[in-house]
């Protein structure tokens, strides 16, 4: 362990602000990318349901048309 106490660890020998700022920035950037990737997948599910419904509608219409004829 390079630090005597928890307080020393947070203080980072006087560089605490810079060290923790860079780590926080990295964390939020990576978390943002991961959340974005998850949201894309969630949105794809919605688009996919719409697409499936559209395909079903088309198939039904085709069936109706052929039964009329």
């Amino acid at each position: 362990m390079a630090f005597e106490s928890w307080h020393d660890f947070i203080a980072m020998g006087g560089y605490g602000f810079y060290v923790w700022l860079s780590f926080a920035g990295t964390f939020f950037a990576l978390a943002g990318l991961m959340i974005h990737t998850m949201l894309v997948r969630k949105n794809l599910r919605k688009l996919c349901a719409q697409e499936a419904a559209r395909q079903q509608r088309l198939a039904r219409r085709k069936q109706q048309r052929s039964s009329k004829a």
């Binding site: 980072m12 006087g14 950037a29």
Partner: protein
Amino acid sequence: MWRWLHPYAKGEASYRLLGKMLPWFSVLAVIGVVVGVGWGLAFAPPDYQQGDSYRIIFIHVPAALYSMGSFTGMAIVALIALVWQIRTAEWSINAIAPVGAVMTAISLFTGAVWGKPMWGTWWEWDARLTSQLILLFLYIGVIALYHAFEDKRTGAKAAAILSLVGVVNVPIIHYSVYWWNTLHQTSTITKFAKPSMPMSMATPLYIALFGFAMLTAALICWRLRNEILKQELHRPWVQQELLGDNAAQTEGQ
């Protein structure tokens, strides 16, 4: 080899393969990042000149390395996409670019925050910093070009060309600290020479480098899977994957 590789030009086969690799990359990423960065933060000795501020290196160097590595990888898939017209390669461009852009942004941000206490300035227009900033703009350009066209394939082709042209910047970034008199120091660790830091600092850095490599790979796998689903949204296998079995069954009736 081609017979083995060929199925992966199809979306579904690639999607399944990526799905098998993703958990491995994710687990190794968590272990590597937690152990490497945790070790670097709490257990590695302080630097004799920079004190504890040098601990930023455990994220700065991995992020910077994989910002360039991702661009090189993107240029390779761009070449494959242009020469062999493989669609999975085209989609890979759009999977890699945002991950690389975030790595570039992290390296620039942590570099600035490290530069303030050590150099006395957040930013300096020196060769290393400027060429890395250009890398970020190139990534943004690739992402923008990919989405700029009504026809997705035209966009992918344009993005591929920019990736190939832009990759010239990667060796410029790497050698900038030798070619020009920069504020930025030269490499601390290289593949061939002994690291210019003691093993008590280099070991956690190597572990962090491994962790970030796995993290980059996992993020790219994850995003490429999304991209494949997006491009093949109208296919039955995607509907089965995203909506479950009942949707595909009702569709089949």
